[in-house]
Symmetry: C2
Subunit: 350 residues, 2 copies
């Protein structure tokens, strides 16, 4: 990974196949757990990060975003699209890839697929936050929305928070059946429910991770009892929310980065000065987490560039022991740095 120890012209690349190999090498639950430690480490040094807003190109059917950040030593960015209608044509709603670079030289040092990696980091972030906010002895999680992110959420909460039962609900029963089948035999009690109301019965944690809805109301106020932790993952862009406003006003709300969450998160429904707590301050002890057994805590998750940065760092470190990358011939490397044209000449090109 070090510029001194590898060919100057190549960049290690983790393909989709190699990301799957890496997850297999490490084990999915261990991957989620270790990744959550990297995410926590970066949340703890939050003020260090260059928190550039993501750069979004909106179009009729979706959005393409670039999410850069840097800690002054490394620089990372993710390309990610969101096109809800893609599934109709057999395409992914979200595809993603990313790069990590060396700030001192500007040279990229890692390229990786990030569709799978984003699914893992989103779940690892959710579980990390819940670990610090959920009620004592939480064991049951309602999981509303059983799409592509659902199994990752279930396994992250099992591995990181000690959840032993998930109660599934989706408006599409086939999604619930698929999620339940995928989770079978993994040490989780999996209960398929016929309604969101049924799913939240007895749940200590409620995760909402629905997609493709415009200001939907997945949870209404009467469904949320005292002491619950809500992990709201699905509402993540302007006009896309999952929770009734009355739930928000009853909850203590935790966010990643307020300027982004006020635009993209559930709190877009609230006045711009509604109090929220930045999660990194809970980790550093600057702000309180849960203050009573009866408090409803709510993580209004939208996904932030530092979490991708943590994921890129984790993958880079894992490659040291699991050589699941190939070398991409990405960087022109003339013998003499200023002689780019000479490189073409000597290759017989020009």
């Amino acid at each position: 990974m070090n510029l001194k120890t590898r060919a100057l012209n190549t960049v290690p690349f983790v393909s989709v196949e190699n990301m799957m190999n890496l997850v297999r090498d490490i084990g999915v639950e261990r991957f989620l757990t270790e990744l959550s430690l990297y995410i926590a480490e970066d949340f703890r040094r939050w003020p260090l990060f260059d928190k550039t807003p993501r750069v979004a190109a909106h179009s009729r059917d979706g959005v393409i975003e670039l999410m850069p950040t840097s800690d002054g030593i490394a620089y990372g960015f993710k390309y990610v699209n969101g096109h809800p209608k893609n599934t109709r044509d057999g395409l992914q709603t979200v595809t993603a890839f990313g790069f990590l670079s060396d700030v001192a030289t500007g040279y990229p040092v890692l390229m990786t697929e990030m569709t799978i990696l984003t699914a893992l980091r989103t779940a690892a972030t959710s579980a990390l936050v819940a670990q610090h906010l959920m009620p004592h002895r939480a064991t049951v999680m309602a999981l509303i929305g059983n799409g592509a992110q659902s199994e990752f959420q279930a396994l992250a909460f099992k591995a990181i928070c000690g959840i032993d039962e998930v109660r599934l609900y989706d408006i599409d029963p086939s999604a619930t059946r698929r999620c339940a089948a995928n989770l079978a035999g993994r040490g989780l009690k999996v209960t398929a429910c016929d309604s969101a109301q049924e799913a939240v019965l007895g749940a200590d944690i409620i995760t909402t991770v629905t997609a493709d809805k415009t200001n939907a109301t997945i949870l209404t106020d009467n469904m949320v009892g005292e002491g619950v932790h809500i992990n709201a993952v699905g509402g993540d862009c302007p006009g896309k929310t999952e929770l009734h406003r009355d739930i928000l006003t009853r909850s203590r709300i935790f966010v990643e980065y307020p300027p982004q969450t006020r635009i993209e998160g559930e709190i877009q429904q609230l006045p711009a000065d509604h109090p929220v707590t930045e999660f990194w301050q809970v980790l550093t002890g600057t702000s309180k987490g849960r203050t009573s057994d009866k408090e409803i805590t709510l993580f209004d998750s939208v996904g932030f560039a530092t979490e991708d940065f943590s994921a890129l760092r984790y993958v880079q470190d894992m490659l040291r022991h699991h050589p699941r990358s190939e070398d991409l011939d990405l960087l022109a490397d003339p013998d003499e740095p200023r002689d780019l044209f000479g490189m073409l000449l000597r290759a017989g090109v020009a």
Copy 2:
């Protein structure tokens, strides 16, 4: 290149080696000429483009930038760094790569090295602009600064503007020797000069493309005679300029995109309301180009995202006839789009 006709999980990738192969297949002068036509085509439809400002991450030793743009059908972005001190360690000052994506689906459709491609597009843009602004029957160009960009400039002006003599000067005589050697036998008269003053003698066009200077004065006012076209390439970030202010006030100034050039270009030395002409308006006939034989015209070039977009489009089109790409396994492609975890399961990963 079409999503319907290739595997859903792969993205065509043009490595450095394949970019060199592509330049060899096409020929460097033809490549520059055809590329200038793509750049002109995109300048002509300038109002269509989403002109997001580049996103820059500055550090002590350099800058890493993301330069996105879109015409509503395709989306392109370039990653590029600028680290002047890199050459000390045998590294490139600038490395670059880029992607082209389909706006309708958000799927990337091309990834390519862009260190070589940026050198080509910068020269093609310079020559395209000069073609429309230089004096009649221009045949001699002074080329001040004989670094990595110099040979590309010389060949672009030969191929596109009909220049038949280049007069070289660099403060480092070895750079001039190397540039002259690289250009030998290509149908250009090449004259190595001992000073910038000597280089500009008899020149119809003056190209300044020096690097690593802070508000240097490569050209002073007395060196620039009537009727000359100045192609100022090297001054391209805040605090980095090449021309004496008095030259600017004597010239009609043409720019790519005023909001960016006023920050990064030579005109950072002038008041923010100093009149400039946007080059795309010369191409569409909305603004005048050169208005007399005696006028000094000045292209204050900083490089804009649309030029990279044109270069990506050109490479994509060329790959149809010259299959100089390999397939990168970049996009997770589950059988059922919402079943990402199932893809891991079926691969025996989870």
